[in-house]
Amino acid sequence: MVEPAKKTTKNYQELSSQLNEILEWFESENLDLDKAVAKYEQATKLLADMENYLKNTQNKVKKISARFES
């Protein structure tokens, strides 16, 4: 079972590149089954975090108060 995703402090690109590293590892020639299981768990956690990011993260607008005519 996948645990509910916690709020992540990493940005999406960081999560994405970690996931891609795992994918590359899986695509490599010699897999170690024990490591594969551990990597799979890692990937599942990353995927949950990424899904959480995509579904729940909002954009924030901050209006600049400076004047620009100088």
Binding site: N11, Y12, Q13, L19, I22, L23, F26, E27, L31, L33, A36, V37, Y40, A43, T44, L47, M50, E51, Y53, L54, K55, N56, T57, Q58, N59, K60, V61, K62, K63, I64, A66, R67, F68, E69, S70
Partner: protein, 372 residues
């Protein structure tokens, strides 16, 4: 009534006071004539029509770009009587007027900046994928602002939008646009600068063909994405930008990935990893089966070898069985308790027991002689 007699200085002061009161700011539209730049800084020109010429004085920083005589322009300024050089309007801002003039001014600026390499494709930088901090420069109440933010929110999350509310058309637009670009580069350092406005006529979009804006876009340390919603001529600011979008919505589409698409990619990736893992399990299982059958094979080989050796031993052992020899017709001769192996062990009259396979013969030695 007594007439006032002025000194020239006083008269100039009084006229200026009157002008300041009556015409603090004038807008004059006319044909540009006698345009010249002195010491690469001071600008002199006249605006004329069929009957009159009005002199203007200003600096190059107030110009939208290179100009030439004959262009129709609208100038904003303050009328002044100079103590030595006479009447002129101190220039505040100037814009070409009418499509022809705007096109001509834009062409002049294009030539100038193109020579400097500002539009060179080699200068273009890629935008970061899914930036977390962006600078947005547009007008707050514009459709461009709401379209951009709406599409951005629909597509992606986690973006901090630092928003500079500026005029995107009119006299103040060029300085505000250029100032906002400069502000972001100095103070906030966003990952991307988005400069956008909706479509409009050539005059509405004139700020995006202003030299100050185009140079600010080209000089921006943060990569720039410029989106002006119009179909026809591309503005020079767009040409100078790292990336151009056709509309504010299109800018949001270019800037961030689509979360729904990304979610389906994630599902694919998840399935891919699962498949890899399953394949690995199957492979390992097969290896296990192979190993088991190899061990079994080796054991079976070992056993059958041993069985064969045992059979041979058994055959060998049976050859030494005396009973087998007796069955084949051999006999064992015993004298008393001694097995007789040589004729030398017996003499005549010795009593011997001759054991055969089925019984014993008691015998007496008549004669013992050597073979041959």
């Amino acid at each position: 009534m007594q007439e006032i007699i002025y000194s020239p200085t006083d008269f100039v002061a009084v006229v200026n006071q009157t002008l300041e009161y009556a015409y603090p700011r004038v807008i004059i539209e006319g044909e540009l004539a006698n345009f010249r730049i002195s010491k690469n800084r001071w600008v002199y020109f006249d605006l004329k029509d069929e009957n009159a010429n009005v002199s203007f004085f200003g600096t190059i920083y107030q110009l939208p770009g290179p100009l030439e005589d004959g262009l129709m322009v609208r100038s904003v300024g303050t009328p002044r009587l100079h103590p030595r050089f006479g009447f002129s309007v101190n220039l505040e801002s100037l814009v070409p007027v009418g499509e022809g003039a705007l096109k001509k001014a834009s062409d002049l600026l294009y030539k100038k900046l193109d020579k400097e390499g500002l539009f060179d494709p080699k200068r273009k930088r890629p935008l970061p994928i899914a930036p977390r901090k962006i600078g947005l420069i547009t007008a707050a109440k514009s459709a461009a602002y709401s379209d951009f933010v709406k599409i951005l929110n629909e597509r992606w999350g986690g973006v901090e939008i630092l928003f500079a509310d500026v005029y995107v058309q009119g006299d103040k637009a060029p300085l505000q646009l250029a100032g906002a670009i400069e502000y972001f580069n100095q103070s906030e350092q966003p990952e991307v600068l988005v400069i956008t406005r909706g479509g409009g006529g050539a005059e509405d979009l004139a700020a995006f063909n202003d030299e100050r804006v185009v140079r600010a876009v080209a000089a921006s340390r943060a990569p720039t994405l410029v989106a002006i919603g119009h179909e026809v001529d591309i503005s020079l600011a767009e040409l100078a930008a790292d990336v151009r979008a056709s509309t504010p919505s299109n800018a949001a589409q270019i800037l961030v990935p689509d979360r729904h698409h990304e979610l389906s990619l994630l599902t694919q990736k998840q399935q891919g990893i699962q498949k890899f893992l399953e394949q690995e399990f199957t492979r390992q299982d097969q290896q296990l089966k192979d190993s088991r059958s190899r061990v079994q094979g080796s054991l079976e080989q070992l056993f059958s070898g041993e069985i064969e050796r045992l059979t041979n031993y058994r055959r060998l052992v049976s050859l030494f069985d005396p009973k087998a020899a007796l069955r084949r017709g051999y006999a064992i001769v015993v004298k008393g308790q001694t097995y007789i192996r040589s004729v030398k062990q017996v003499k005549n009259k010795d009593r011997l027991s001759v054991r055969l396979s089925d019984g014993t013969i008691q015998a007496e030695v008549i004669k013992a002689s050597n073979n041959g």
